[in-house]
Symmetry: C2
Subunit: 145 residues, 2 copies
Amino acid sequence: MTHKQEMIERIRGFNRFYTNIVGLLDQHFLDSPFSLTEGRVLYEICNTDECSAKKIRESIAIDEGYLSRILDDFVRRGLIKKTRSPVDRRLRIIVPTKQGKRQFSTLNDNSNKLISNMIRRLSAKEREELLEKMDGIRLLLEKTK
Amino acid sequence: MTHKQEMIERIRGFNRFYTNIVGLLDQHFLDSPFSLTEGRVLYEICNTDECSAKKIRESIAIDEGYLSRILDDFVRRGLIKKTRSPVDRRLRIIVPTKQGKRQFSTLNDNSNKLISNMIRRLSAKEREELLEKMDGIRLLLEKTK
DNA sequence: GTAAAATACTTGACAATGTCAAGTATTTTG
DNA sequence: CAAAATACTTGACATTGTCAAGTATTTTAC
């Protein structure tokens, strides 16, 4: 086994590990009125200016038709409003309703609690270390694009 | 020192980032005869001694019925053999066939290539850093259990 | 030893999630 | 202005996952 092979094995080990971590965190969607994908879509809607299906698809990688239906569903559930952009009438601009924002903020709070719980055993110093390492990984992997 | 809310936001940012990374890597299942879940099941089968549905469920979190069908499908595809354990005839012990092992190893090779590609732009030193940080995160988060 | 409970898995029915391709409305390009 | 491109929608369908009831076997409690 080459050195490189070991390296790859360690990275894959980390991926499996972290997939599980994120998986555990995502379990909470089970207790919420949103699927994981719906949650991600709602996140984008609430954090994107002049949001549209197009913009969502720029950050999520989701089938166009599927997204269209999710958005329709959100409309039915009173979470968002869709209006054609006056600038380019092909686009529907998407804005969360008051209720949509409220639901998103609940979702958000629950995610925060889970993360909070995840790091509950760590000391202040360890938390700082964790963040540094996370940012470091991000920085390194962003080079690969 | 970072405020707690910011801290959580940074962790969640990392989670979103890394979910995307893993998501990209998992795209390769699209070009393979396995779904992501099937791949994970096959991984467990090939890396678990005296493997059984029970043992798989200890590491994967998957519906019992669903797993049962996946395994049946693997049998149909000639990837595994199931035999009742002589020790406890409720259990079916699962062994990969020669072909199963071969397919798994292909899957494995492709995963490796993807990882290899992911780190292609990093210098030796940076790769070492990446691994250290990954191991560090793992160590820190394992404390939380 | 035997009845009841527990375990390991299977099966049927079904719901949720995701994909593909063709279609509509609108804008851009040549 | 016609053709191509863009943004989204819709229908048909496949994949993936869930729930609950069922079978075979073993363990537990008497």
